[in-house]
């Protein structure tokens, strides 16, 4: 669950990044955040990830009231979410397997747990043959799937995707949003920031539009999304593996 209450963010430079943002995203929703550059999308995400604090107002994510969170509690809050970046942010000196396992090592999982779960997620994202490859030898789409695997591996209740299709071709873009949709169908909340309107229109999800730091439109949760969710089968990918 994500909730913004009268949130303002003014940077030290004086720029008003967000103005009076009020928003509620329920558990299990899929929402696109769209807007031109400078609309406040990045600030919006930074507030959710607790990389920044609001100048005023309250942000609550996964039942954590972020302005009251102590520095020591931040890592435990971040473990409740998975983040996918536009530029993948993979560690080039680690193999695909190691990059994905990294997230689990951070939270103190055992080798056996890591081995089982990482192979499972790699298979889920059709990356099982690439586990010993290094990121620079993969295509953009494959790297983004590794990024997605890393975000998914700890089974977070919230996935934040920051322009995940920005560096991949249109077909792969569609595939990535499709994968995110299927993950969402299993109950994971997905928040995806994008500026690709045509991509947004191909999927029937909630669309929140930011402009000049304000929410200028919010389609709300489409009714049929819940319908699709109820009908969802166990098949997430062609491999037919459960998240």
């Amino acid at each position: 669950m994500i909730e913004f209450q009268n949130v303002y963010k003014i940077y030290e430079s004086g720029s008003h990044a967000l103005r009076d943002v009020n928003l509620h995203i329920d558990d299990g929703e899929f929402a696109f955040i769209v807007g031109a550059s400078g609309a406040g999308k990045s600030t919006f995400l930074k507030l959710i990830m607790r990389e920044e604090l609001p100048t005023s107002g309250e942000v609550t994510v996964n039942n954590f009231r972020l302005s009251r969170l102590k520095r020591k509690q931040v890592p435990y809050f971040r473990r409740t979410m998975g983040i996918v970046f536009q530029d993948f942010r993979l560690i080039d000196t680690m193999t695909v397997y190691e990059n994905v396992a990294f997230s689990m090592r951070v939270v103190g999982k055992t080798k056996r747990e890591i081995n089982r779960r990482v192979h499972h997620v790699l298979q889920l994202l059709d990356l099982q043959g690439k586990s010993n490859r290094y990121p620079p030898s993969l295509s953009g789409g494959e790297q983004q799937r590794v990024g997605l695997a890393r975000a998914l591996v700890n089974n977070p209740s919230l996935i934040i995707a920051d322009e995940p299709t920005g560096n991949v071709d249109p077909q792969m873009s569609h595939d990535i949003v499709d994968m995110l949709s299927r993950i969402n169908e299993k109950g994971t909340t997905v928040l995806m920031v994008t500026h690709q309107h045509e991509l947004v229109h191909q999927f029937h999800h909630r669309v929140i539009t930011l402009e000049g730091g304000r929410i200028v439109s919010d389609t709300g949760r489409p009714l049929h999304t819940e319908q699709v969710s109820l009908d969802a089968t166990a098949d997430v990918t062609a491999g037919g593996v459960r998240v």
Partner: protein, 300 residues
Amino acid sequence: MKSHVVRYLIREGCRNTWQNRLMALASVGVLICCLLLTGFSYLVFVNIDHMFQNAYEQNVMAVYLHTDQTDEQVTAIGESLQAMDNVASVTFLSKEDFLAQYGEALADNTMESFQGEENPLPDTYIVALKDLALFQNTLNAIENMSGVEEVSYDANTAQTLTRVRRMVLGVGGAIIVVLLAVSLFIIVNTIKLTVYSRRLEIYIMKSVGATDGFVRFPFVVEGVLLGFTAGGLGYGLIFALYYSLQQNFVFENPLLSLVPFSAEWLPLLVGFLLGGVLVGVCGSVISMSKYLKQEGGIRP
């Protein structure tokens, strides 16, 4: 932290060191130079102190006894002097020996009239002190001993030596502290270059929920590895350099002789290893703490 996590982080620290081996080599090189400078400052200081100690021992006092003392009384005074805490050595100079030494400077016939019972010179003890800072106390104690007629000494030399030694101690200590601080500064800047290239890793660790301790641990391991390597190699080098110095500079005057390395090997070994590890770990942790504190500013 669970033991399997600690094992993983130690492995990571080693892996990171190996992957950044060029920078690690540079850090070790810089650290060795700094340790050598500090180590040599220490050895110079130890040697100067040693020379002062030698000079102290040269700076003796002559304790003249009353001429009416029996042999037993003379021996008892010698034992009392020897038993004093601040006395390093006591040498007995009998009045016959005293006369013989004096006599060398006099004409032969003059000596003859002073032999035996006619000898006017007193039995004497030559006393060397351990610590000249306690000179006055020791002097008073000796002067108050029964049987002691007079104590002859050079108070000025004693005071000057004590003052100079204190100054050397202060300056030597300050130089070592400054050198350690400079080492830390250089190491921080050298390691900063490695950390800069790994800020992406730090950012990813934080974004997936790593605690500060988890992020810091491999850097600490790296610091220990670098510090230990630099300390060990530096110790070997200082041993070799000092040894060759000792072989090449042999002085006739014992006052100028170099302190043997064997007398200082333990403080040097402990100092090099501890100093290396301390500077390595502090350098490593200080270099990365900026990225650890940064929230959201890290956009590699």
